[in-house]
């Protein structure tokens, strides 16, 4: 385990302002990411994981209620930077994002090579020919043939487009890439291919990843560490091996048990009820009303308990 | 119902929408009032006009409320009659009537009293005599009494059954008044150098004699002021309030029917084209493209000139030409998307017919888009009707705003300074356009959330 961390997030808060009150999408999140490491943020829809991605990259909409905390990237607190400084120094320079359904967010009127080259030209003032060379290199990394540089987005399949989106996030050689549901719309073979690409990039280019997904099975393809998110909070954080063998938090356990497995005979069990609204989350442990192991103390919000290098937000581990 | 409530609440959040809606409701109420107070046949009759209907009005008089804005008080029309009107709405002030019988016939004295407080002279002075007799004409002597006690002899004459006496055209009277026109001479202050009317109570006494039993004399005194009524009058003495009031329901009805008719037809045709695809779709697209190129106004002008100016015909052609417009392409784009929805596929899977899918599944998706478009489209049609009327192609019998402007322009309103004649209908047109636009754009923001925050 590396001692120096690439990314340290402390008490990150992001609330949205709505007519009905603040939506507490990211509610005091803490986590750490080392170099050449991939952390998976696991969670279902509505737990705030996409908002977490946006909070880390400061891609905020206009209706913000609160945005605070510390995002320390390689020793520098990026929250202290102004928006313009952030744009020039951090976003797509040291951290980039492959957003959800990225393959649909490619510009239909530009050639894909030009799109991948664009961040280089904008952030590093590089000339077009040089930027295209860099784009070509990126295409190699992600497994897209070089002659695709001159094609348009609609000429490519879904899997190819997703690879182009990954190339676009790679081109400025960032230290960290956040991927939001990179394969949820793709077929299983294409999915496996993309993960092969990501594994190779992690090793060869020494880039760290934050992978946000709800798909537990595919998350195990990349994860060095796992952070489970529920109702705006990280409720468990652990290294992957231990997590997949033995999840600690009751929610993590139920989540693990609800996955149908191809190889294995266990009948999956589903979780009753629904996650709480982020508008008015309950006081106390937010999972309590669905938890089979709840007891008296769960009326108070549990702190985060550390067990060796795992942490759980659950009274059972006091 | 709940949706309507919700929409109203949403509307309340936009001040412009509230203003627009208020104006529209106000206009609709006034329009309904106009239709009740002056029923349609009556309105047509009044608008057709003629001396018989409008004789009491001055020509080209400005609205009475001008006096609020001017230093000098301009004269307003005064009507005094010696008889009662059947229709109490048209009742004027009453003159005193005194009948003294004699051996044969009688002496009839009619006294007309009025206040004159204006700074300027009237436009015209007229007596409309009415008498009943067998053979012998009655005889009248008319005397004028000013507030400072002077008596002026106006005229002595015999009158027929219907006799009109115009003060200003009586040359003998003019001579008696030393060549000064009676409208000035009868009112002028004798002590003033410049002609200034003397203010106070004036009295006119008619001493009449009838020579038969059962004969009678009645007279109506009309003083044409320079101002008249709520909205002034036009060259045919018609009170413009009739046209302005009745213009409201006509404009609104035309606009609404045209907009609604076009909207529904366009929506349905777009849906049918998209659903059936193939040659149906192609045909509709080609018709639309051809129609977009056709000169809309020119065609309507030709229709009006060569075929008929009836408002129903014009309305019909307007709708027909407006159906195949750019809106079809917009709706088509949306329907193409909606057609691929899974719920439509499901409907085919459980056996829904084409007609059912079009009307129950496709069209309801577009109604939120349609409604703002409908509202915004209404002023366009209102202006169209006014424009056609202005060009002289309006419906020949209906009192519309466009017709008023047309009359005004034709009779040199601007040249003569009768600004009210044009400004009033134009202002009403603009108000209508403004109100519907404000409401329509707010509705657009409500129904299309992507535009919110603008």
């Amino acid at each position: 385990m590396a001692d120096k961390k690439l990314l340290i997030i402390k008490d990150l808060v992001l609330y949205f302002r709505t007519e009905k009150g603040p939506v507490r999408a990211v509610d005091k999140v803490n986590f750490e990411l080392g170099f050449k490491e991939a952390v998976v943020v696991l969670g279902e829809s509505g737990c705030g994981k996409t908002s977490l991605a946006k909070a880390i990259l400061r891609l905020l909409p206009r209706n913000i209620d609160s945005y605070s905390g510390q995002i320390i990237l390689d020793g520098q607190d990026t929250m202290a930077l102004s928006d313009e400084e952030y744009r020039q120094q951090i976003r797509w320079v040291r951290m980039s994002l492959v957003p959800q359904a990225a393959m649909n967010s490619l510009n239909p009127v530009l050639r894909v090579g030009d799109q991948v080259a664009e961040p280089m030209m904008v952030h590093h003032g590089v000339r077009k020919e040089e930027a295209l060379q860099q784009a070509k290199k990126m295409f190699q990394h992600v497994g897209v043939p070089a002659d695709f540089l001159t094609r348009y987005a609609f000429e490519l399949s879904g899997g190819m487009r997703q690879r182009v989106a990954i190339a676009m996030s790679l081109v400025t050689a960032p230290s960290l890439i956040v991927l939001d549901e990179p394969t949820s719309a793709l077929d299983v073979l294409t999915q496996a291919n993309i993960f092969n690409v990501l594994k190779r990039i992690k090793k060869e280019l020494e880039i760290s990843f934050i992978l946000i997904t709800h798909d537990i099975a595919t998350s195990s393809e990349l994860a060095d560490r796992v952070a489970v998110m529920y109702a705006g909070q990280i409720i468990e954080s652990s290294d992957a091996m231990q997590f997949f063998n033995e999840p600690l938090h009751p929610y993590s356990q139920m989540l693990m048990n609800s996955v149908p497995r191809l190889r294995g005979d266990v009948e999956p069990i589903f979780i009753t009820g629904q996650p709480p609204s982020l508008l008015n989350p309950p006081t106390g442990c937010r999972f309590a009303d669905r938890c089979p192991k709840r007891f008296g103390k769960c009326d108070q919000e549990p702190p985060i308990f550390d067990k060796q290098d795992r942490s759980v937000k659950c009274w059972l581990y006091e | 119902m709940k949706k309507l409530q919700k929409t109203l609440i949403d509307i309340a959040r936009y001040p412009s929408a509230v203003i627009g809606l208020t104006i529209i409701i106000l206009m609709m109420s006034i329009g309904i009032y106009a239709m009740i107070a002056i029923p349609y046949p009556e309105a047509i009759r009044l608008w057709r006009g003629g001396e018989a209907v409008w004789y009491q009005n001055p020509k080209n008089a400005a609205p009475a409320w001008f006096n609020y804005f001017t230093q000098q008080k301009l004269s307003e029309t005064i009507l005094i009659a010696s008889f009662e009107e059947e229709n109490p709405v048209l009742q004027k002030d009453l003159a005193e009537k005194e009948v003294i019988p004699r051996e044969t016939g009688s002496e009839i004295t009619l006294t007309y009293t009025f206040e004159y407080d204006y700074d300027d002279f009237p436009k015209d002075l007229i007596f409309y005599f009415r008498s009943a007799y067998n053979e012998k004409l009655p005889f009248v002597a008319v005397r004028w009494y000013t507030p400072d006690g002077r008596e002026i002899r106006v005229t002595d004459m015999s009158i027929q059954r219907r006799q009109t006496y115009r003060f200003l055209q009586d040359t003998r009277l003019v001579r008696r008044l030393q060549g000064v026109s009676p409208d000035i001479a009868l009112f002028a202050d004798p002590n003033s150098e410049t002609p200034v009317p003397l203010k106070g109570t004036y009295k006119i006494v008619i001493e009449g004699i009838v020579f038969e039993d059962g004969a009678d004399i009645d007279a109506e005194f009309v003083l044409h002021g320079q101002l008249h009524g709520w909205a002034g009058t036009d060259h045919q003495r018609r009170d413009l309030t009739v046209a302005l009031l009745w213009g409201i329901p006509i404009a609104l009805a035309f606009g609404l029917v045209a907009s609604l008719g076009t909207g529904i037809a366009t929506m349905t045709i777009a849906a049918v084209g998209v659903w059936f695809g193939g040659w149906v779709d192609e045909l509709i697209q080609r018709i639309t493209e051809i129609n977009l190129v056709l000169p809309f106004l020119s065609i309507l002008i030709m229709v009006g000139t060569f075929y008929s100016r009836s408002i129903w015909v014009i309305l019909g052609f307007t709708i027909a030409l407006s159906i195949f417009t750019g809106a079809i392409k917009t709706y088509r784009a949306i329907f193409l998307q909606v057609r691929e929805s899974t719920y439509i596929e499901a409907a085919r899977a459980y056996g829904a017919s084409d007609a059912r899918i079009i009307f129950k599944y496709l069209i309801p998706r577009i109604i939120p888009l349609l409604i703002p478009g409908l509202v915004i489209g209404i002023p366009g049609f209102v202006f169209l009707e006014a424009a056609l009327a202005f060009l002289g192609l309006g419906d020949p019998v209906l009192p519309t705003w466009g017709k008023v402007i047309n009359d005004a322009q034709f009779n040199g309103a601007l040249y003569n300074g009768f600004y009210y004649w044009i400004v009033q209908p134009a202002a009403l047109l603009m108000l209508t356009g403004l109100a519907f636009s404000m409401l329509g754009f707010s509705l657009d923001r409500i129904f299309n959330p992507r535009l919110r925050g603008m």
């Binding site: 991939a38 279902e44 829809s45 879904g158 899997g159 190819m160 077929d187 299983v188 073979l189 496996a192 993960f195 092969n196 594994k199 709800h214 798909d215 537990i216 099975a217 595919t218 998350s219 195990s220 393809e221 990349l222 994860a223 060095d224 992957a240 091996m241 997590f243 997949f244 063998n245 139920m254 989540l255 693990m256 609800s258 996955v259 149908p260 497995r261 191809l262 190889r263 294995g264 009948e267 999956p268 069990i269 589903f270 979780i271 629904q274 | 899974t342 719920y343 596929e345 499901a346 409907a347 085919r348 899977a349 459980y350 056996g351 829904a352 059912r356 129950k360 599944y361 309801p364 998706r365």
Partner: protein, 340 residues
């Protein structure tokens, strides 16, 4: 206890074990229109598919996007018309059906869609949505419709039904929406259910719920189910047999357990290899996958359509001749020259 809509021409009653559906050499080709007249070729979405399905039997159809499974599904649902070949349902040939027969046929096949939100008309209440199939298929009396709606809501465990009937789809959760979709598919008392990726757009914890519901419904009503998916891990849970489809053809047919233990066709092997179970060791290995992409259905490769990507292709055979269906073991079919 299936609710049967009164039929104009009822087929003879059948028992479990009889064949319900028979797909015979089905071809579904779409014309690619060229500008003007003529055409630029055909999209051969389904290119010679045959299989049988018994009453109460459930099978999964697995394949990637672009393999033609959607077109196959839509033809079975009665939305597409076969170009060649036939579908026989309860002994009646689709090619010979007239318009009212087709309407009857559609009422016998229920459709559960992938996207629960898109599958429900957003401007209609749950009650109206459920009434539509009944109205269209001639259930005139309002009280009878209401009764059937109540029954079907109970079956999908959305009770008390009155709580939900007046709601609009956007007021329901994803899982609830999918239950309504299933209710709508069941309301006409079909014998066959076609489920197209019914859980892929739902959260992980809800998927199991819905799959279990489908399985219960299948058992209770002796429903035959065709379950279309590209996620192999759910297939075991729910079906007895599995068909693997590639580029418009069926490349393998088998019962599930044997296939998972021992996949025959190289493509099936690739699919299994690419499907992960949650296991931290996955992060340490690269998966071996066939290169390239699924072929275009307009100009498929000659011979075996998988041959350009197959690591086990036999030179001189696989790219020349289309492999027929071999049966190397009982109840296991593979269309691959390896099993000659």
């Amino acid at each position: 206890m299936a609710l049967n809509v009164p039929l104009t021409n009822e087929a003879p009653a059948a028992q479990a074990g009889d064949t319900l559906l028979s797909v015979e050499d089905l071809h579904v080709w779409f014309e690619l229109k060229k500008f003007g007249f003529g055409h630029a070729g055909y999209v051969r979405a389904v290119d010679g598919v045959s299989f049988d399905l018994k009453y109460g039997e459930s099978t999964a159809v697995v394949g990637e996007s672009g393999c033609g499974k959607s077109s196959l599904m839509k033809t079975i649902l009665g939305i597409n018309i076969p170009t060649k070949g036939d579908i026989v349902f309860q002994g009646r040939h689709m090619s010979k059906m007239n318009r009212s027969d087709l309407k009857w046929y559609r009422s016998q096949v229920g459709y559960v869609q992938q996207d629960p939100y898109g599958a429900l008309a957003p401007f209609m209440t749950v009650e109206s949505i459920l009434e539509e199939p009944l109205i269209i298929n001639g259930v005139r009396s309002k009280s009878e419709r209401r009764e059937r709606i109540q029954k079907v809501m109970e079956e999908v465990k959305m009770t008390p039904a009155d709580d939900f009937l007046h709601k609009f789809p956007h007021m329901l959760s994803g899982g609830q929406q999918q239950r309504i979709v299933i209710a709508r598919a069941m309301i006409l008392g079909p014998k066959l259910l076609v489920a197209d990726e019914p859980v892929s757009m739902l959260d992980a914890s809800v998927r199991v719920e819905i799959l279990r519901l489908l399985r219960n419904l299948q058992e209770q009503h002796n429903l035959a189910v065709i379950y279309i998916t590209h996620d192999l891990s759910t297939v075991r849970y729910f079906s007895e047999r599995i068909f693997v489809m590639y580029a418009g053809k069926l490349v393998e047919r088998s019962r599930i357990e044997p296939l998972v233990r021992n996949p025959l066709h190289p493509y099936t092997q690739a699919l299994l290899e690419a499907t992960s179970d949650p296991d931290a060791n996955n992060a340490l290995i690269y998966r071996e996958l066939p290169p390239g992409e699924p072929p275009s259905l307009v100009n498929p490769p000659s011979g075996c359509r998988f041959h350009p990507r197959c690591s086990q292709a036999i030179q001189g055979l696989c790219e020349v001749e289309v492999p027929p269906e071999f049966e190397p073991a009982p109840e296991r079919m593979a269309a691959c020259w390896l099993y000659k």
